[in-house]
Amino acid sequence: MTLGTLADATRWAPPDAIAFVGGESSSCGGIARLLRRAVGEVSQVTTLEQLEDVSAFALVAVDYDALSPEEQADMVASFALRSNRPTLLLLSERNVKDDLALLFGSRILTNMLVVDASGPDASDLLVTVQKIRHGEIFGLEKYFVWGVEPRSLSVTSSRQKGATIDEIDAYVRRIGVTSRLRSLIRTVADEFLSNALYNAPVNPDGSSRYGSTPRTEVVELSPGERVEVRYCCDGRRFGLSTTDPFGSLAPNILQDYLARAFRAGPDQISETPGGAGLGFYQILGSLSHFVVNIDPGRRTEMIGLVDVSGSFRTFASGGKSFNIFVTERSR
C-alpha cells in the first residue's frame, strides 16, 4: 500500500483508481492517510488541474474546505462540463448548505461526507468508496456493524402508511429516542413511503403510474410490487430503508428537486397535482446521512441514517452526508 505521487497519477491509473485532491494541511494529510489505509493506493494532488486525465479515475475525493470559493466554482464548472467524469466525493467539515443549490443544480454532487475534527467517519468513507469501486450498492446493513439485525415490514397500499409509521415510531420511542428526533424519523418514514408508493411505480412503457395522483387518494400495489421497509439501531445511529421494485428514480431528477428546494425561490413548492416537490429536501433536512441506491428499471433503495446518540442539538451540529449510487452496468 503506497500513497501515490502526482507522477503516478498522471502516468497510469487502474480502472478502480482513486485520487484525492486536498491542500497541505494536516487534516488533508489525515484524510489521505485514512483513504490509503482503508482502500490502498491513492493518488494525492493539491489541485484538480494536476489530475491531467480525471476520467482515468473511478473516484476523485476532494477536500472541499481546502478549496477557495473560486476554486470550488472552477471545480463545479470543470466537472459539469465533462461527459465522461469519475464519481466525485466531496469531504467537508463545515455547513455547506449555502453551496448546495449550485452543487445539486450542476448535477455533479452525488457524494458528500461530513468530516469532523478527527476526519471523516472511517466506516462511512470505506463503505462509500467500496460501493463506488465494486458496485455492490444495496443494503442497510452496510452502515451498521455485524450483529445489528434490521426489522422488516412489507407495504402494498397507501392505507398501510400510517400504521407503518406508527410501528417505526413505537420502536424508536421504546429505545429512548427523544421526541424531536422521533419527529424527524416519522417525517423521513412518511416521505420514503410516499415516494415508494406514489412516485416510484411506473407502467410498462416507463410512464409514471401515480405521480400525479393526489396524496389523499389511496393507491394499491400488487404483491410483486411490494415496498420493503427495514429499520434498526446500533445505539448510536438509527437506520431506515425502503426498497421499491421499480428503479425509476433518475439521479438528475433527485438533484434537480434538491437544487430547486435549496434555491428557495418562488418555485420551491410544486403546484402541479401529486407531490409538493419538497420530499427529498425534507428528507435531507431530517437525516444525518441520506443514501439513494438505484438499479435502473429494477430497484430503488432509500436509506436514512439519524444520529440518535444524544439530543437534537447533537444531531443538528453533526452536518449531513449524502450519496447517490447507481449500479455499474447502467452507468
Partner: protein
C-alpha cells in the same frame, strides 16, 4: 396524530389553536373563512410534525388568509413550525411571527421541555437562554438546537414582520 384545531372568538377576530401533524389530510379551508375581514391569531405550540404535502397545504392556506384577514399573527410557534420557517420560503405568508417555543433537553434525566420566547422588533434580536432548570430533576437543561440556526428565520423576515 392528525391535525386538530380549536377556535376561541375574540373582540376583533379569532384565536385558533392548532395541534398534531399537518399533512396532505389537513383541512384548513374552514380556517380561511374565519379570517375573512378579521384578525386571525394562530397558536402553533401543539404542531409536532409537518410533511412535504402538509407544507404545501399550509402555504396555500396562509396565502389565502393573507389576502382576506385584516391581520395574521403566528404565536407560540413549535420547534416543528420554526424548522419549516427556516427551510421554506414564504412559509408564514404575510403573517407576523411574534413568539416561539424554545426546546430544552436535560442530559441528566432525559426530560424535554419548552419555554416561551416573545420576539421583539427586527432591531432587537431575541436572546436565547442556553440553559434552564430542568422541571423534572432540577439539573441544567440545555437549549436543544443551534441558537443561530433556530432563530435564522428572523433574518429572512422583512422588517415589521417580526412582532410589532
Amino acid at each position: 396524530m392528525s391535525m386538530r384545531w380549536a377556535v376561541e372568538s375574540r373582540e376583533n377576530g379569532h384565536m385558533v389553536r392548532i395541534s398534531g401533524s399537518i399533512t396532505e389530510e389537513a383541512d384548513l379551508h374552514a380556517l380561511v373563512a374565519l379570517g375573512q375581514g378579521k384578525d386571525l391569531r394562530l397558536d402553533l405550540a401543539g404542531v409536532d410534525e409537518i410533511n412535504s404535502c402538509g407544507v404545501r397545504e399550509w402555504i396555500r392556506f396562509v396565502r389565502r388568509v393573507s389576502e382576506t384577514a385584516s391581520d395574521l399573527e403566528l404565536v407560540r410557534c413549535s420547534p416543528a413550525i420554526v424548522r419549516q420557517l427556516n427551510m421554506v420560503s414564504n412559509f408564514r405568508g404575510s403573517g407576523r411571527v411574534t413568539s416561539v417555543m424554545l426546546p430544552y433537553y436535560c442530559d441528566a434525566c432525559g426530560a424535554e421541555q419548552e419555554r416561551y420566547l416573545e420576539l421583539g422588533g427586527a432591531d432587537a434580536p431575541p436572546e436565547i437562554q442556553e440553559t434552564v432548570a430542568c422541571e423534572r430533576c432540577g439539573e441544567q437543561a440545555e437549549f436543544d438546537d443551534l441558537p443561530d440556526s433556530y432563530m435564522g428565520f428572523i433574518g429572512l423576515l422583512p422588517a415589521g414582520r417580526v412582532g410589532r
